[in-house]
């Protein structure tokens, strides 16, 4: 039996071992606590636990506090244990999520002399992070850095993924990590016995427990190369652009493709290759080789003016947003993506459909008259939109639709819709988007000579363009307004544009955006 160490605890006088646990609703914090109580009792330790559900039994974090005390034969005195966790007096802190770990650090429950900190590295996003118009997610690196700095030992890995892999729950993973952390004076067996005796999901819970135990043991033993920097999922928008080093253009699989790649290789600096390559794949998938050539043509013009600063940052950024903008999501594009062969298997994996299980896929569409007219030839489309009667006619086809893409009829209809891409270049929507794109590109090129920073900021505004229907109208209008401002105002500053861009992403009512605009 592997006995784990008790070096944190004084040997002369028995003291409590103090454990704090933060878990989100439905993550089995209660189950974890009950398991721990059973382990303690099996080892003749007294255990006192209490919990605080916050306001929320609903979606908030629940804090559990547990104290363990060794009983001794011939001593019937009962220890007095605390119902409150004390700052500076926590032996083990367990957290089911990395932001909650941050909260524990903030509240002083992790101290370098004492606390073994066990935390899953995954994120459960808060509502403010989720509802952001762009990327409002927290950067976990601060928490990881401080957790390493202020814990006696920081044991962290993605326990949610581990649990998910085995179709189990995160409490089993946390329990395994606790057993593997070598901080409780109980044998591993007494932990796993509790899971076995529970009689519920024993096999899956045990496999998660075992794997988690091993990972924790490796971290404790220092075998894990990531020990000081556990893998935490962080979104860093710049990574894609920054990883250019080491990127090697793949060879082409088609004749026309070879021509494009050759042009990319010869005309564009290496630092831009990876991104433009991705852009090419995208616009080619979206339309055809002519369109991809058009993409390179537009970029060449920007490149020609690019000062080359920061490894041709201006060209790279323009390449990214130009590719996204040129592949705007009109009805043919959405139809094309919905009937793609790989889509069904992606869905099956995501919803965990069993092998061979039949699934039905119902799409929810809500096109407006504008989106329908956008695929009509330009003159016809705008005429129909401006005429009250024809608009009403079109609106008969608009509105909420539920379509079963796995059914033949819908599949064929969507296929047909997808094939409308061949007439896309004549459509009202294409004309509309191209006008916007040219306005944006024109402004980038206009500004670059006099003020490259302003040009860069305008290029970055490409990020704003997204969404469908009203959202798309709002966001592309914002870019136009910024471009108009830049064009009208000779001494516009890069900071001002950056401020406008941030304001544009602050709310979906344009309030912040127009506040900044009217201020100046």
């Amino acid at each position: 039996m592997e006995k784990t160490g008790t070096d944190t605890l004084s040997k002369q006088q028995p003291k409590t071992i103090n454990i704090i646990l933060a878990a989100l609703g439905g993550e089995g914090g209660g189950v974890f606590t009950n398991w721990l109580i059973e382990v303690a009792e099996a080892n003749n330790w007294l255990c006192q636990s209490t919990s605080l559900a916050g306001v929320a039994q609903r979606t908030g974090a629940t804090i559990y506090y547990i104290e363990l005390f060794p009983t001794q034969a011939k001593d019937d005195r009962k220890p007095v244990m605390s119902l409150f966790p004390s700052q500076g007096d926590i032996d083990i802190a367990v957290s089911s999520e990395i932001a909650e770990t941050g909260r524990m650090l903030q509240r002083g429950f992790v101290t370098p002399d004492k606390t073994t900190l066990i935390s899953s590295s995954h994120r459960v996003y808060g509502i403010t992070e989720k509802s952001d118009l762009a990327d409002g997610t927290m950067d976990s690196s601060t928490v990881v850095e401080l957790a390493n700095k202020y814990s006696r030992q920081f044991i962290s890995f993605d326990m949610a993924e581990l649990a998910n892999k085995h179709n189990s729950v995160i409490s089993s993973a946390m329990f395994g990590a606790l057993a593997g952390a070598n901080v409780l004076p109980f044998a591993k067996q007494s932990f796993s016995d509790v899971i076995t005796n529970s009689g519920k999901m024993v096999a899956t819970n045990l496999s998660v427990f075992e794997e988690s135990y091993t990972q924790a043991q490796q971290i404790v033993a220092g075998d894990n190369p990531d020990r000081k920097t556990p893998q935490v999922e962080i979104f860093t928008p710049e990574t894609a652009a920054a990883t250019t080093a080491g990127f090697c253009l793949p060879s082409a699989t088609s004749e026309k493709g070879a021509l494009l790649l050759e042009r990319l290789k010869c005309d564009f600096p290496v630092s831009t290759h990876e991104l433009i390559h991705q852009g090419l794949i995208r616009v080619l998938d979206y339309q055809d080789f002519a369109y991809a050539t058009q993409y390179l043509d537009e970029l060449s013009e920007v490149l020609a003016l690019d000062t080359g600063a920061e490894q041709y940052k201006l060209t790279t950024i323009t390449a990214r947003y130009l590719a996204l903008w040129m592949s705007f999501e009109d009805i043919p594009r959405v139809a094309q993506l919905k009937v793609r062969a790989t889509r069904m298997s992606e869905i099956r994996t995501e919803v965990k459909a069993a092998e061979g299980q039949i699934i039905h896929v119902t799409e929810f569409f809500r096109p407006r008259a504008e989106e329908i007219c956008a695929i009509l030839p330009r003159a016809l489309g705008s005429a129909m939109l401006s005429n009250r009667w024809s608009r009403r006619l079109i609106e008969l086809f608009a509105g909420g639709k539920k379509l079963r893409t796995d059914s033949l009829v819908v599949y064929l209809v969507l296929r047909t819709m997808g094939s409308f891409k061949h007439i896309r270049r004549y459509s009202l929507g294409y004309h509309h988007e191209m006008k916007l794109i040219r306005g944006w590109l024109y402004q980038i090129k206009e500004q670059v000579a006099a003020n490259p920073q302003v040009a860069l900021e305008i290029a970055l505004c490409g990020r704003l363009v997204k969404g469908y229907g009203g959202t798309r109208e709002r966001t592309s209008k914002q870019v136009s307004v910024i471009c108009q401002n830049a064009s009208a105002n000779e001494c516009i500053s890069a900071e001002y544009i950056a401020k406008l861009r941030t304001a544009a992403m602050a709310d979906d009512t344009n309030e912040a955006f127009y506040t900044i605009l009217t201020e100046s």
Partner: protein, 729 residues
């Protein structure tokens, strides 16, 4: 059917003499009641005593066998009125609720019973929560105890003390003919531990043995008796209580070697105090203390004789009195002054006046006391500065950095909650006609006042939203809007709200959120139920109701005189928007009631999951639905999240290397309520949402249709794959 089942745990209540009972605080209280021969119990749920109601509910068989009567009372006032059984008869009774709000609701009956007094022991178990996560305003039950002359018991939070004090509270109540508050703090309610049990005692009278009707005119609240009752409180009941407390040693003295010092604490704070002493090296693990301690397990009344006995000969005494204003501190000052005892008393000068006495707060207060009492650093291990440093090892700069990244996690509605689509609908109507002033209420729907809905201006109390709109309604640019839950409606809203509004020709709108349960307190049953509907995407037929005695909210409103009542499923966002718009625009006079109906999803899932599992196992064709977001068409604007806030609707990094913003994502906890799809249609969202139906045990029709589809679509896909090489780089 409550959220947490205690069916298994309640079996422990059978424990007899000498058995070791292990479990949670609330379970120990229940055992304490049974050991004391309680004849009736009742109450109203609410944190932190919700689980006590759940335990009692689940223990009905055991209660019934003993002849104990249990009622899930309609409100705290109903529960308090139950205590009247103890006025004329030797019946022990206990009722419970969340304080201070529940005490406020119950106050009418409580004042009456406190005045006329009791024959059988009557106790009111109140849960108080002074913590930062508390959902109630932080007022002390103590004030009510003082003004009504009820005693307040505040036991040490270990199971043995908790159980003993239950029995002694009954005895105290009987010895002094006075009802007793028995106070539990939130952590004490949930604390686990063990105690040695005793046999349950069947009540002398109750369901199995009737009393002989007995009328005592002097116990009725009419002149001249009220005057006499007031005299009795002071002349007889109070001295009797003090006498009983002293004789039975309800308060505890713990000696210590530093005889010139002393600490007075309420029972509930004892463990935290001991921990602080342990950290200062002034107590051992078993609570043996170097500084004498006087534990007031009875917080009210204060016993002057004991206070004098403790303070006499001491130079410095510290009092731990959690909450404000302080009542015990001036009482002790008065006692000491009158006897001319010169002991210095410290309390709120060393401890914060407001807020919870957490471990850190207690340690800080104790350390300050040691310093003012002249104990230099070498006698205790931590100085005030040391303790201050303990609050966090992080530097200020590091704190700032953490604060700026760690996101808040406000409470929100659960996955698939039927209230979400209601608030989505209101938010959409507000966009067209708003902004709105909304009178909100207590319940899960209170969370609509938080992100992402941000709907609601005031909360005045349980079932009081409509009542609270009656003053503002004439000053609003739109018809007054009130939102109330079904729990609030039955608790208070029907009489204080609907009846009063009809009487006063209120022409506003009342939205009653009918989810079939008192959901926020843990899913307890209420008089009305909600018809299980099949609008929800998950097609498992909802089992019909288990109860046949349900009362209709609509009929109750009509009975109260409301003419305009519409019942709308919350999951039909379009219909809800239309109904709301109609109600705001109609010229029809009088109150407009919209019953927004949709079963609490937590309860629904609890019922449906086993049914579905069973159906699949039995080979029955079963469809399970969930939603899916196409990561390829999602552009990462998250408008869907801003009108929903469903926990299962979240985000994940985009797989598209060109897109930087995370895409929306439905995780596997989705229950397929269908709101995402409805929102796509009603709020004109993007084409990324799909409903995925997983078919278990497909029929031959499913199988053959699927085969045909797969082969034809498969052919097209092969054709594309053959054509494609010419189209890639």
């Amino acid at each position: 059917m409550a959220e947490r089942s205690f069916k298994k745990e309640v079996l422990k209540l059978h424990a007899g003499d000498g058995d070791t009972f292990q479990g949670e605080g609330i379970l120990a209280i229940t055992k304490g009641l049974l050991q004391s021969g309680v004849a009736y119990v009742g109450g109203y749920q609410g944190s932190p005593i919700s689980h006590l109601m759940d335990v009692l509910n689940d223990a009905q068989d055991i209660l019934g066998d003993l002849g104990v009567h249990f009622e899930a009372s309609g409100s705290e006032a109903t529960a308090a009125a139950m205590l009247s059984a103890s006025i004329n008869y030797n019946l022990r009774g206990a009722v419970t609720w969340k304080s201070t709000v529940g005490t406020n609701v119950a106050s009418d009956a409580l004042s009456n019973i406190a005045s006329c007094g009791v024959t059988g022991g009557a106790i009111v178990i109140v849960g108080e929560d002074y913590g930062e996560g508390s959902s109630i305003m932080q007022e002390r039950t103590y004030a009510f105890a003082m003004k009504a002359q009820m005693w307040l018991v505040d036991p040490r939070p270990n199971l043995t003390s908790i159980v003993d004090m239950i029995e002694q509270s009954f005895q105290l109540s009987e010895a002094s003919n006075t009802p007793v508050f028995y106070m539990m703090r939130v952590r004490g309610c949930h604390v686990t531990g063990e105690f040695v049990a005793k046999n349950n005692v069947a009540p002398e009278f109750g369901t199995k043995n009737s009393v002989t009707p007995n009328r005592e005119a002097e116990k009725i609240i009419l002149p001249p008796h009220v005057y006499q009752q007031e005299q009795d409180k002071i002349a007889k009941r109070w001295p009797a209580a003090v006498d009983f407390i002293i004789k039975n040693k309800l308060n505890e003295f713990f000696p210590g070697k530093h005889k010139d010092l002393g600490i007075i604490t309420l029972g509930g704070n004892y463990n935290t105090l001991i921990r602080a002493l342990q950290r200062q090296g002034l107590a051992d693990s078993f609570g043996k203390t170097a500084i004498p301690i006087y534990v007031m397990n009875v917080a009210y009344p204060v016993v002057p004789e004991e206070m004098v006995e403790f303070c006499l000969g001491k130079k410095h005494v510290l009092l731990l009195e959690e909450g404000q204003p302080e009542y015990i501190e001036p009482a002790i000052h008065s006692i000491l002054r009158k006897r001319d005892i010169q002991t210095k008393l410290y309390g709120k000068d060393l401890f914060p006046r407001a807020g919870e006495y957490t471990a850190q707060v207690t340690l800080t207060g104790l350390t300050r006391f040691l310093e003012v009492a002249g104990y230099s650093n070498d006698k205790h291990s931590l100085s005030v500065d040391d303790v201050k440093k303990l609050s966090s090892p992080l530097s200020d700069e590091e704190h700032e950095r953490l604060l700026s990244v760690v996101p808040a996690r406000p409470s929100g509605l659960c996955t698939g909650c039927p209230e979400r689509p209601l608030f989505s609908a209101i938010k959409q109507v507000q966009k067209e006609l708003g902004p709105f002033h909304i009178s909100s209420d207590i319940g899960c729907h209170s969370f609509a006042t938080l992100a992402p809905f941000n709907l609601g201006n005031t909360i005045m109390g349980y079932g009081l939203s409509l009542a609270s709109s009656s003053s503002i309604r004439k000053a609003l640019p739109h018809k007054a809007i009130s939102i109330m839950g079904d729990g609030g409606f039955w608790h208070n809203g029907l009489s204080s709200g609907v009846v009063s509004a009809v009487f006063n020709k209120h022409d506003g709108i009342l939205i009653i959120v009918n989810n079939g349960y008192s959901a926020a307190t843990g899913g307890q049953d209420i008089p009305s139920m909600v018809e299980p509907n099949n609008l929800i995407a998950t097609t498992m037929d909802a089992a019909s109701s288990e109860r046949d005695d349900s009362v209709s909210i609509e009929l109750a409103c009509r009975g109260a005189g409301v003419k305009w009542v519409k019942t709308v499923s919350t999951y039909s966002i379009e219909e809800m928007k239309q109904t709301l718009t109609d109600s705001l625009n109609t010229a029809e006079p009088g109150l407009k009631v919209i019953i927004a109906e949709g079963e609490c999803m937590l309860n629904r899932q609890r019922r449906i999951k086993p049914l579905m599992k069973n159906a699949i196992a039995k080979g029955k064709r079963t469809v399970r639905a969930r939603f899916y977001i196409d990561p390829k068409t999602c552009t990462g604007d998250h408008a869907c999240i801003r009108i929903s806030g469903c926990p299962s609707l979240t985000i994940k990094p985009s797989t598209d290397s060109l897109r930087e913003d995370p895409v929306s994502y439905v995780d596997n906890s989705c229950v397929g309520c269908g709101v995402c799809g409805d929102n796509v249609h009603s709020a004109v969202l993007c084409p990324s949402f799909s409903k995925i139906d997983l078919i278990h045990n497909p029929s031959w029709l499913d199988l053959s249709a699927s085969t045909v589809r797969r082969s034809v679509i498969g052919w097209f896909e092969k054709y594309d794959a053959w054509k494609r090489p010419g189209q890639i780089l």
